[in-house]
């Protein structure tokens, strides 16, 4: 079964450092999402791509977060500088036919900022 790949699985970084996460969606899925899930809460959408274009980044803290999907396939989410409050699970998801199949999630990157 096709999966959404994310790396790294775990990342520990010091406050004020830069950190980046990578996501490779299921082949053919045009829509890609980045979510942040703080412990004890539901996932919160950060950014949504349709192919290489950003569709929704209204919840992305743009002063420190950036996301790109240059060729409309894999995507990178970057935080610079990282803050203690950024510690969370960062989930990537993709979809082809959201009405039929919903979203397929990756296993996530757990970020700890120390």
């Amino acid at each position: 079964e096709a999966e959404v790949a994310q790396s790294p699985r775990y990342k520990i970084t010091e406050k004020s450092q830069a950190v980046a996460f990578w996501c490779d969606p299921i082949s053919g899925h045009a829509t890609l999402y980045w979510y942040r899930q703080i412990l004890g809460q539901g996932p919160e959408l950060l950014v949504q791509f349709q192919d290489e274009s950003v569709v929704d980044d209204s919840q992305l803290p743009k002063d420190r977060f950036s996301a790109e999907r240059l060729k409309g396939v894999d995507s990178t989410l970057k935080i610079q500088p990282a803050e203690l409050g950024d510690s969370a699970m960062y989930l990537c998801a993709s979809s082809l036919d959201r009405e039929k199949d919903g979203y397929t999630f990756g296993s996530g990157t757990r970020l700890t900022v120390v």
Binding site: G40, G42, P43, L45, Q48, D56, L91, E99, F105
Partner: protein, 109 residues
């Protein structure tokens, strides 16, 4: 903006007992509603969506527009149902997909 509430953070039931996970939403249009599940050490995955009116693993959910609810039900809980359950709402045209805070279901032997 749409919002999803799940009033119970933790729900414990005994095996074989009925279970109902509550979900209420606020949205001015005609939403699409979903339940996602995350089993221990596994990825978040779609359980069911209201437009399909399906039953998955014995779970069903009915959209009640009058009460703005989409509660998840199963008549006889199994131990393997223990997981985190998230209710989610999607606005028009696939935008603004919002998750609730989740309910942890624990099915006791």
């Amino acid at each position: 903006a749409q919002r999803v509430t799940q009033p119970e953070k933790l729900l414990s039931v005994f095996k074989g007992a009925p279970v109902e996970l509550k979900c209420n939403y606020s949205y001015s249009g005609s939403p699409e509603l979903f339940w996602y599940v995350q089993y221990s050490r596994q990825r978040l995955q779609l359980l069911l969506r209201h437009i399909s009116r399906e039953s998955i693993k014995g779970f069903t959910a009915d959209l009640n527009k009058g009460e703005t609810s989409f509660h998840l039900k199963k008549p006889f809980a199994q131990e393997e149902d223990s997981a985190m359950y998230y209710c989610a709402i999607e606005g028009n045209y696939g935008q603004n997909f919002v998750f609730g805070p989740g309910t942890r279901l624990s099915v006791l032997p």
